[in-house]
Symmetry: C2
């Protein structure tokens, strides 16, 4: 049978800063585990991130294809960015949508949040749906290392490629799932609202 | 309009080991970006991980609720583990399914792979669907820091909770998406096969 549940979290005995990086901090903790054993665990303290799922008037999804130095390869992703100090997630997505896609949006919906990589990072990702897009005549410049292309894909194309290729990262797949559920729920509500109206 | 595409990857000028952790390495690279600028970027070298999506005979999904020290909280996740040195992903999932859930599986399908956190880690996750589950009479012991409960959830419960709560991490949502697409494809093929058979 599956093993039993011990709902006693690990106790933190001590914290130790291991390395102060440019964007995040590498920490180690000495922990006492629920079974009484003791050990060191290491992880990144991350300021958090925010992701935009931008949808055009025709229902296509705006993705970026960008170079990722950590994997020395290109990936397809929804536009996203790290929270600047003191910044609310909604400010981050307003900025990143413009910088990464050259679009601004007039309709925003909150798609909630989730942890990205809880095995070694405390990063929380905040997700927003962006609609009523408008292409900026003079988009702001991106970061120095920017190497990206804006690509629009249909829901069908995204579903197929996310299911069968490694072109998209985990957050982009998870955000697409969230967006699809939100849109289905919205459609169901609209349908019901229609039924009760004269 | 969306900005133009410059398909020239960043050139690596130098590597520097910043911190050798217990499970992974923290590296920094001096890069020359496509626009000619130069800068330092830091990320984790990770051995990779493997995730299991276990489905019971009645169609429920086997999840674990485990304590994650990086966020000092519990999360619902599909069972998963880090690749040991020289280990193939399929060996990892055979081991982790037994250790984390107390089940073994007699039917496995490959659900492909994706990157987890390409902003600061080179980790690739390999995903497997596990069916024909059998509860082990004498499951192997887990890790020292183990603090987990095994929970079965229906596809409907998972869909609802993944869409509206932060109880699940990005990889678990993305793996559920992959599994659902695989099962839908399998069902469609079975349906077609049935039509062509006498």
């Amino acid at each position: 049978m599956p093993r039993s549940f011990k709902p006693i979290p690990s106790a933190i005995i001590s914290d130790r800063l291991r390395f102060q990086g440019l964007k995040f901090t590498f920490l180690s903790q000495e922990l006492r585990f629920p079974n009484g054993a003791q050990g060191e665990r290491q992880f990144i303290l991350h300021p958090g991130g925010a992701v935009i799922v931008p949808i055009t008037a025709t229902g296509t999804f705006v993705c970026i294809r960008q170079y990722r130095f950590a994997i020395a390869d290109y990936l397809f992703e929804f536009p996203a960015g790290t929270l600047e100090p003191g910044e609310e997630p909604f400010q981050t997505v307003l900025r990143e949508l413009q910088e990464e896609t050259g679009f601004t949006a007039h309709r925003w919906d909150d798609l909630g949040h989730f942890h990205l990589a809880p095995g070694y990072s405390d990063e929380m990702l905040y997700i927003f749906l962006a609609r009523d897009l408008e292409a900026l005549l003079d988009p702001p410049p991106g970061d120095d290392d920017e190497d990206l292309e804006v690509i629009e894909l249909s829901a069908e194309e995204l579903t197929e490629r996310m299911a069968t290729t490694a072109d998209f990262d985990a957050k982009t797949i998870a955000c697409f799932f969230r967006a699809q559920q939100f849109l289905a729920h919205e459609k169901a509500l609209d349908g019901k609202a229609g039924l009760t109206q004269p």
